[in-house]
Amino acid sequence: MQQGATDSASGWQRACHECDLLLGNCTAPPGGKLVCPRCAALINRNPARSIHYTAALSISGLLLFIPAATLPLLNFSIIIVGSENTLFNGVFSLFKAGYIWLASLVLFCSVVAPFTRFLLLAFISLGCLWGALDRPVSRAVRWYQHIREWAMLDVYMLGVLVALIKMQSLGKMVVESGLYCFVGLMVLSNLTLLSFDQQSVWRRMARRRAAAAASQAGEVTS
């Protein structure tokens, strides 16, 4: 297979991933975005300082995960008897009731996938600073692509709201501190969707590789 992002013979640099139209220069101006002229697919979004923002957002996401997963989200009480809901105990109750498949799906979409997503983003945005980590970082980018759409914090949030309103007629529903952390987590997760641009990771790697090759050539000639 031929190396490189550019097909030198024809000068094409990229093809639209949704309609296969060949395209020339495909990097959006910083802060802007490019869409395919034929099918209007988003070709490239080039957020300013993508890697820095992604690193900051994903690390704060990982930290915020601790209170969001351990503190109770909601408290429901009828007269004096009350019970609490955390991210995990719904999964446990389903698991105990025998709904293993449903429990693991809920666990995966609301805890495992969002957490892995933050972890991968933190690893990608910090790891691409070192040349030694090039291979694991490219693998992490690949995993990120697969896991991205399974992280459903925003859907879970809507589920919390529906539960909140639906049970209001039965008893007293109180929003607990964990839910505020969870909202923060959801906002952070959506912000990383905006800030992360894998092309800037690839560009950074290519630049470093070119610089290494140049310095090596310099050593040989001197």
Binding site: R38, E84, L94, L102, S138, L158, V160, W202
Partner: protein
């Protein structure tokens, strides 16, 4: 738009993971991306077959998902199991029509819309090619974007099961329909992933081998009119 502008016709293909353009060795349809290491195909392998299989699975599972109860709310010892549609109607009857609408869209309309949309796209690829590919792309994008919201009902059930758990006073139990519904959502999300929208454009070329519209001439991206019919 001429066929020559499709990457496939030039022996090039795009890595769907990192979007790198690559030249596959002649005669090969798959390889490995030199940049991210993902397996690269000229088109997603067996895309139509897999999508059909998953769509049919989803359609069959939609029956138990809607017939079997998903949840039982027991309050002071009494309570009846409710299905997905029953739960929505109950919300509507209680006057919470806003929430009822959200739940209805997420758990009834979205799965059906997804399946219908995918069947339309599959038929377009296999029969004649889309008349208006932009419209098909719009269908594809809507189907891809709305899929995850169907899990709303299941998240709500998992929250309520933990939250309303007071023995004799009030209890919420999950029902067997929820398992079927979860499988519908997962299967349809996978079906969208296995469908390759570039096949729509290939079918478009097959249908209409001469140039139809020129996007560079006018600002209008939609074909103004159809030239030739098949």
């Amino acid at each position: 738009m001429s066929r020559a502008e499709a990457a496939l016709e030039n022996g090039l293909c795009t890595c769907l993971c990192c979007h790198q353009l690559m030249r596959l060795p002649p005669g090969e349809t798959r390889g490995r991306c030199t940049r991210c290491g993902a397996t690269v195909h000229d088109r997603i392998e067996r895309s139509l077959m897999l999508t059909w299989a998953l769509v049919l699975t989803g359609t069959f599972l939609l029956v138990p998902a809607n017939i079997l109860p998903v949840m039982t709310v027991i309050y002071l010892g009494s309570g009846e199991p409710s299905t997905i549609i029953g739960g929505t109607l109950e919300l509507y009857a209680n006057g919470l029509w806003g929430i009822a609408l959200i739940v209805f869209i997420a758990s009834v309309a979205v799965p059906v819309m997804k399946l219908v949309g995918l069947v339309i796209l599959l038929l377009q690829v296999q029969w004649r090619g889309p008349r208006n590919p932009m419209q098909s792309m719009r269908v594809y994008r809507v189907v891809a974007a709305i899929g995850r919201w169907s899990l709303l009902d299941l998240f709500m059930i998992s929250i309520l099961v933990a939250l309303v758990n007071m023995g004799a006073i009030a209890e919420v139990r999950a029902g067997p329909g929820s398992t079927a519904f979860a499988t519908v959502v997962v299967v349809t999300m996978m079906a969208v992933r296995t469908f390759d929208p570039r096949l729509l454009w290939d079918a478009r070329y097959r249908r209409n081998s001469e140039p139809v519209e020129d996007w560079r001439a006018g600002g209008d991206r939609e074909p103004a009119e159809e030239v030739g019919d098949g």
